[in-house]
């Protein structure tokens, strides 16, 4: 069973298609990184899943049931665009309203629990409008975590946060998925951050899913390379091209692809009179894969 299964989903606004036959599969327990350019349809997809928008056509299933099923929807926690809190009410009052909305039996205990998870135990009485951006995002997560969510939908939860805020948010997300086993659909432009937590990826472009793969598949696709700089880059390139099949000059450095041993490359150049001034080993990650995929689709 999949947590989210979408087939042929379309949504238009005044004749302009935001989603055009989208297919999406999110396995149960996954942290699904949802990636795409601005206006590609990420937020629209999330709003459709949450029932905020009405689809033109298509099918959406959550845990094998129709997305309008009241039993499933009560187990969906969402942070879409903002926390959706009343600014003049305190953090506690906002959480209490959500706890009542979910019909929780012990709302005070639940509020205490989620505030602890998002590390805001001491901020319950602060008015929402007096919270910082990072705090507001964490309150949004706390709202989404109330009750027993089986699915969390988070729209750009790490955007606008400072480095420490991002780290805290990342730790919270990993913690809740590992501890409580809920499925997370998270959209973000910060691919480096997503790469640290996601178990699956979906890449959307112009309202269509262009790639869906697991982190393992991404790792398998990832190409390792040794990047280096020498005094005579041209000569070094000629030498390396004679020995290795995939040598490219990229971003002011020489990249030798599909090579595991840094020493082997450096030694070979030294033997041929080339002194290496800088060297590092790297791999083509999510960001590079995403850029490649996007430029490939653009040229099609």
């Amino acid at each position: 069973m999949n947590a989210i299964e979408i087939r042929g989903l379309s949504k238009s606004f005044r004749g302009m298609y935001a989603l055009n036959g989208l297919n999406m599969t999110v396995p149960v327990g996954a942290i699904y990184g949802f990636i795409g350019e601005n206006g590609s349809g990420k937020s629209t997809t999330e709003k459709l899943i949450c029932g905020h928008l009405v689809p033109d056509c298509g099918q959406m299933k959550l845990f094998g049931k129709d997305y309008t099923d009241a039993g499933v929807r009560v187990r969906v926690g969402a942070l879409i665009e903002n926390a959706g809190c009343f600014p003049s009410s305190s953090v506690y009052q906002n959480l209490m309203m959500q706890a009542l909305n979910l019909g929780l039996l012990n709302p005070d205990e639940e509020i205490e629990r989620v505030l602890k998870i998002v590390r805001m135990e001491d901020s319950a009485q602060i008015k929402f409008k007096n919270c910082s951006l990072g705090m507001k995002q964490r309150i949004g997560i706390a709202m989404a975590l109330l009750g027993d969510p089986a699915l969390l939908i988070l729209d750009e939860p790490i955007n606008g946060l400072d480095t420490d805020g991002m780290r805290i948010m990342r730790e919270i997300l990993v913690d809740i998925t590992q501890t409580y086993g809920c499925t997370v659909l998270i959209s973000s432009h910060l691919l480096g951050e997503l790469e640290k937590i996601a178990t699956h990826y979906g890449i959307i472009r112009q309202g269509k899913m262009i790639a869906e793969l697991s982190a393992k598949e991404m790792d398998a696709r990832a190409r390792v390379f040794v990047a280096l700089k020498t005094a005579d880059m041209q000569k070094a390139a000629t030498l390396l091209k004679g020995k290795y099949p995939n040598v490219h000059e990229e971003e002011g450095e020489l990249r030798v692809y599909d090579v595991d041993e840094v020493e082997e490359v450096v030694e070979y150049l030294l033997k041929n009179g080339q002194v290496v001034s800088q060297v590092r080993k790297n791999k083509v990650g999510l960001e590079e894969y995403y850029i490649q995929l996007m430029s490939q689709k653009e040229s099609e």
Partner: protein
């Protein structure tokens, strides 16, 4: 919370509505707006009774109201009013209620809290029912504070309290019952204009004044047919009322509540939330 289970139990209709009502009542009692409107509802009749006066044909200035209960309801059901004394009564509570409900629902959308509500409540009728109930409750409370304000100010200005108690009771109960119908109209208007907060308030004020029925009354006269409308039956709940008045108010209020709730639910289901 323990490790997540993938067993999904659907809440019953009553559980769903209760949860939504719990949220709305919590919010209502924890925001100053509700208490401010209760105070306004109490102050307005005091101001009307104590401060309004009119110049008669002989040029003598006299009090507009000679009886305290005229501030609660008109003597007879006059749909087309000829002076302010026939118009300015407890029906004004429905205008305040409309404005309050517009602000209440408007904040749902402005804050984005409506997203939380619609994420966890797949059935849109929950929202309509809950907001109607909140509106009706608020207006009923305002009717009571309005009554208190009227009595207190009547004592202060030493106006007459002579009245047929049974008729007065029927008029007050009739007007309180009308709160439900008015609330459903305002919720519906706020759903229609949910993207335009200003238009929501203006439309609630416009319909709350009953101006269309006042106009219709001027054209067709005091026809009992006008009782089928919310303002018509609100006017019908007057100081010459009886049990029949209460029954008419109940029937009209419930009927319009049903109609507006069905229409509002349909609009919410067929259109985007924001």
């Amino acid at each position: 919370m323990e490790q997540n289970t993938l067993h999904f139990e659907s809440p019953t209709f009553f559980q769903r509505v209760k949860r939504m009502l719990d949220v709305d009542f919590y919010r209502l009692f924890h925001t100053p707006m509700f208490y401010i409107f209760l105070a306004i509802a109490a102050i307005i009749p005091a101001m009307i009774l104590g401060m309004t006066s009119i110049e008669n044909a002989d040029g003598v200035v006299q009090k507009l109201y000679d009886n305290t209960w005229q501030v609660i309801a008109a003597d007879t059901p006059l749909y087309a009013v000829s002076d302010i004394a026939q118009y300015a009564n407890m029906n004004m509570v429905f205008i305040f209620g409309g404005i309050m409900l517009s602000i209440f629902i408007g904040h749902d959308y402005k804050s984005g809290y409506v997203k939380q509500l619609f994420t966890t409540h797949a059935k849109k009728e929950d929202y309509m029912i809950s907001k109607t109930a909140i509106g009706a409750f608020s207006m009923a409370c305002m009717c009571i504070t309005y009554l208190i304000g009227t009595v207190v100010s009547g004592l202060f200005v030493q106006a007459s309290f002579a009245v047929n108690v049974w008729s007065l009771l029927c008029a007050i109960v009739g007007k309180i019952l009308m709160s439900l119908g008015w609330a459903s109209l305002y919720v519906f208007l706020n759903i229609i204009f949910r993207k335009y907060f200003g238009i929501s308030i203006v439309s609630c004020f416009f319909f709350g004044t009953g101006i269309l029925i006042v106009g219709a009354g001027a054209l067709v006269g005091n026809s009992p047919l006008l009782n089928v409308f919310l303002y018509g039956s609100s006017v019908y709940a007057c100081l010459s009322g009886n049990i029949w008045t209460v029954l008419v108010c109940l029937a009209v209020s419930v009927a319009w509540t049903g109609i507006y709730n069905v229409l509002g639910t349909y609009v919410l289901e067929k259109s985007d939330v924001y």
